[in-house]
Symmetry: C2
Subunit: 474 residues, 2 copies
C-alpha cells in the first residue's frame, strides 16, 4: 500500500499528518483527543526515554511513581495552580459502582500529590535534596488536538525536587534546563533557545519558568521543555518544613521540570521532508537498512547481504529487508517514509565489485562503498549526518531570526508568515497582550544570553532593557 | 531512625508491611487504594521491566501505547468481559469543565480499546501476527488494598497479539507463560507451578487462562502472571477479520498476557526474613555495599575502600556507605533492611591483612576474602546466592505440598494453616464452589504436567481425571 505525502510548501499541516501516517507513528483513537502511539512511534519514545533517563541518573535523580488520581481538594491548595489547571481536568466521579465522596482529578501534573507525600518524607536537612523523577501519563482536556503536539492524554516525565536553600533550587532548575538543551541539540539534533517565560506565560504555581524553544520548518516555535523554580509555593501549600542544621524549621524550596511525547512532534517538524520522516541517527530505532536486489542469484545475494549486515552490527542497528512480495523500488520508498538514516543496496553487480551502494536519507546522496571499509564508513556517516541535521536546522533558525524595531513591520511579517522576531519590549503585560491579540504571536522567551541593550518597546515606545523573541507557536 | 520489624511467626501481615516500610519501597497514598512506589521500590520495578522487556523483544514483540480512557460502550461489546470488569471500574463523567456525552472508563485492562484499533490495522494475513506489548497503569477499584498485592491503581505490562490461526494463538499463549516462568524462576528466584485456571477462575472474555502460581512463605499461593487464549471472542466483538492466503475473510485469533507490580509483593514474600527485605542478586539495584569501618585512619580506610569498590564494578553494582553520622552497626542493620545481597566490611585490621569481610544477606554467613580474589568471589557468591534462594523457596513448596483424598482432612488443614493441597476434583463447578465457601481456598490451577491418574473427587466422590492444586491465596 503506497502512501502519498502532501508537500510542505502546499499544506504544512496536512504534510505533518501524512508523515505520521506513512511512517505509522501514531493514530487518532476512538476516544476524543487521545492518540494511539503505534510501535514505530513508541520505539522512538523508548529511545528518548532511555537517553533522558541516563542523563537524569547521571545528575543524581531517581525514579518513583505517584498515583494517577488527585483529590480535587489538593489541587485547590495552591491558588494559581488550580486556576491554571482546573479548566483542563478530567474528573472521576464514580468508582466501584458508587458515587465518590470527593471527586478525583486525573493528574494534569503531579506537584500537589507529590508534595503531599514529601510532607511525610522530609523532616531534616539530612533528607534533602530529594531528587525524584516520574515517567507517567497525564491528562489535560483539549478541544483542538494534533498528534504528539497536543493531545488530551500524553506521556511525559516530570521531575520534582526539594532543596534546603533557594540557591540550590535555582541551580537545579537551571541544571535540568541544561540537560534538556543538551538532549535536544546532541540527541535530537534540534537547536534550541534557552530563556525565561514572561509572567503571563509561566507555569501555574511557579515563581520562574525556564524553557527551551525550537524553530520548526514553518518558522513557528515549539516549546519543547520547561523547568520551573517553584520557590516555596508548594511547600507552603502542603506545609512541608524541615529542620535546618541550626535546628530551626524552614519551608522547603522546590523545582519541577518536564518534557513529553510532544518532542516527537518537534523531531518530525525539525528534520522530515516531502518524502516522509527523517530521523537523526541517535534516535533512529533502525539506523541502517539493507535492501538486497533479488533479481537474479537471489539466494547468493541474500546470504552475502546478511553477512555484510553482521559486519556492521557493532556500529549500528541494522535490518535486512528480505521481503519477496514487493519490489526494491517500493522498499526504497517505504524505508524513506519511515526515516531510516542509511539505506544500503546490494545487487549481483555490487557483489562482483565487492561494493555496496549507500544512500543517505537526509541528502539523498549516493555513494559506492568498498565492502571492506563498510563499518568505518557507516560509523562516520551516522556521525556526520547527526551533525549535518543539527547544522541545517540551526541555519534555518538563523536565516529566519529577524531584528525589528517597527511595530507595523512586525504585524506585516506575521500577517503572512512566521519567524523568530527579536524586538524590544518594555515588560508591560499590556503590550505583550496587544501583540498577541493583534498578531497571534507570543513572547517565546527572554533569552538568558540576550545582550544588555537599552531600546524602545516595539509597541509603546517606552524604555526596554533588551530584546525578546516573538513568534507564532504550536 | 531505627525501624523495628514484626516477626513473621507472630504477625505475617504486619511483617509484610514492616518490611516494605523499613526498606522504603512504597507508601499508602492520600488517595484511597492507591500506592506511592518510592524510589527503592521503583528501582526494583525498573529491573523487572528491563529483564521482561528484553525477553518480550527476543520473542518478536514490540511496544506501543493505547489510550487510558475507554468509552463505556466498548467495554460492553464482549458480554463476559463487561460483566467481569464493570463493577471494578473508575468512571470519568466530566472533562474540560463539562459533562461528557458518554462516560469514559479508566482502563482496567485494554483488550477492548486495542481490538478497536486492530480493526483498522489488520486487513490481510500479511499483517499477522501482530505482536504488541504495552507498559501502562491500570485501575481496578478495590475495597481492601494491600501494598503491591492489591491496589486500585497498579503498573503492569499487557501483551495483545493477533494471529491467523487458532494453533498460532495457542502457541503464543503458552510461549508467553513460558517466558513468565523463566523470568520468575531465573530472575526472581521464585519457583512457580504452571497450569490452567478452572472456568470459574478464568479471565472475563478468555477461552483459556493459563497462570504461574508461586507459594509464599506463609504457604498461601500468589497468582503471579496470566496468559489468555482469547479465541475469536474479541475479534468477533470488534469485527476484526482478515483475508487469508486463499482470499477468504476470517476472524482473527487473539491472546493477551500480563504481569504487574504485584510481582514485587511476591518477591518480598518469597525471600525476605525477620531482619527485612532479601533481594535476589538478579533484581537488586545495588548488589554489594561496602561499609568502611572509620574508627581510625578514616581517610586511608575510605580511600582503600573506594579503590576496592572500583575493582568489583565490572561484576556487580556497588555502593560505598561513607556516611559519618551513623555507626557501622547502624549501617549493617540499614542495609539488611534494604535487602542488599552482599555486605563488605573494611577496617584498618582488614587492610593490614589485605582482606575484606564478606557477609551474605540471605544466610548471614561471614567470610574473610583476600582482596586479590574479591572480584571472582563476588561474582561467584552472587550466582550461588541466586541459586540458593531459588532452591530454598522450592524446598519450602515441596515440603508444603500435600496429597489428600479425604475432605475432612482438607478442611482441618485449611482451618489452621495453608499448603498446596493436591486433591482429586470431578470438574464440577459446584464442588469447586463448596470447597471455596467452606474453606476460603480456591483451585489455583490444573497443572500442565499433572499425572493422568483416575480417582474420586475429594468433595463428591465422583470420578476425577486427576489432581488439582487447592490453596489459600493472595
Amino acid at each position: 500500500m503506497e502512501f502519498k505525502i502532501a508537500k510542505r510548501s502546499e499544506d504544512y499541516s496536512r504534510w505533518y499528518g501524512d508523515v505520521i501516517a506513512a511512517a505509522q507513528l501514531a493514530d487518532y483513537s476512538p476516544v476524543k483527543g487521545c492518540m494511539v502511539i503505534r510501535p514505530n512511534g513508541y520505539a522512538i519514545w523508548e529511545k528518548i526515554q532511555r537517553a533522558l533517563d541516563d542523563l537524569f541518573k547521571a545528575t543524581g535523580h531517581v525514579n518513583a511513581y505517584f498515583p494517577l488520581f488527585i483529590p480535587e481538594s489538593f489541587l485547590k491548595k495552591e491558588a494559581e495552580h488550580v486556576e491554571g489547571f482546573a479548566p483542563e481536568c478530567a474528573v472521576v466521579t464514580h468508582g466501584g459502582g458508587e458515587k465518590l465522596e470527593e471527586p478525583l482529578v486525573v493528574r494534569p501534573t503531579s506537584e500537589t500529590i507529590i508534595w503531599s507525600c514529601y510532607r511525610n518524607w522530609i523532616q531534616s536537612y539530612r533528607d534533602l535534596p530529594l531528587l525524584i523523577n516520574q515517567w507517567a501519563n497525564v491528562v489535560r482536556w483539549e478541544m483542538r488536538t494534533r498528534l504528539f503536539l497536543r493531545t488530551t492524554e500524553f506521556l511525559w516525565q516530570e521531575g520534582h525536587t526539594a532543596h534546603a536553600t533557594e540557591t540550590e533550587a535555582q541551580e537545579e532548575a537551571f541544571r535540568m534546563l541544561g540537560v534538556y538543551k543538551q538532549f535536544a541539540e546532541e540527541t535530537m539534533a534540534m537547536p534550541v533557545l534557552t530563556g525565561e517565560k514572561t509572567p503571563a506565560q509561566k507555569f501555574a504555581g511557579a515563581r520562574h519558568t525556564y524553557c527551551i524553544e525550537a524553530m520548526m520548518q514553518d518558522k513557528r516555535a515549539l516549546q519543547s521543555g520547561t523547568s520551573h523554580d517553584l520557590g516555596q509555593n508548594f511547600a507552603k501549600a502542603f506545609d512541608v518544613r524541615f529542620q535546618n542544621e541550626q535546628g530551626q524549621l524552614e519551608y522547603v524550596w522546590a523545582t519541577s521540570w518536564g518534557v513529553s511525547t510532544r518532542l516527537i512532534g518537534g523531531l518530525i517538524m525539525t528534520h522530515s521532508d516531502d518524502k516522509g520522516l527523517v530521523l537523526p541517527p541517535a534516535l533512529a530505532p533502525t539506523q541502517v537498512v539493507f535492501v538486497p536486489i533479488l533479481t537474479k542469484d537471489a539466494e547468493t545475494v541474500l546470504q552475502a547481504t546478511r553477512h555484510l549486515a553482521d559486519t556492521i552490527r557493532p556500529v549500528a542497528t541494522v535490518q535486512v529487508d528480505d521481503r519477496t512480495n514487493v519490489s526494491p523500488g517500493w522498499k526504497f520508498n517505504d524505508w524513506e517514509q519511515r526515516g531510516v538514516p542509511i539505506r544500503l543496496e546490494v545487487g549481483p553487480k555490487d557483489l562482483a565489485k565487492k561494493q555496496v551502494v549507500l544512500v543517505r536519507r537526509d541528502t539523498g546522496e549516493k555513494q559506492f562503498v568498498p565492502q571492506e571499509t563498510l563499518p568505518e564508513t557507516i560509523a562516520m556517516t551516522l556521525r556526520t549526518m547527526q551533525q549535518d541535521l543539527f547544522n541545517r536546522a540551526k541555519s534555518l533558525r538563523e536565516d529566519n531570526t529577524i531584528y525589528l524595531d517597527d511595530y507595523k513591520q512586525l504585524c506585516d511579517l506575521f500577517a503572512e508568515s512566521s519567524a523568530f522576531v527579536k524586538a524590544h519590549w518594555c515588560e508591560s503585560p499590556d503590550c505583550e497582550a496587544r501583540v498577541q491579540e493583534e498578531n497571534k504571536v507570543t513572547i517565546r522567551c527572554v533569552e538568558f544570553d540576550r545582550p544588555q541593550e537599552a531600546g524602545a518597546c516595539i509597541v509603546c515606545g517606552k524604555p526596554s532593557p533588551g530584546r525578546v523573541v516573538f513568534s507564532k507557536a504550536y
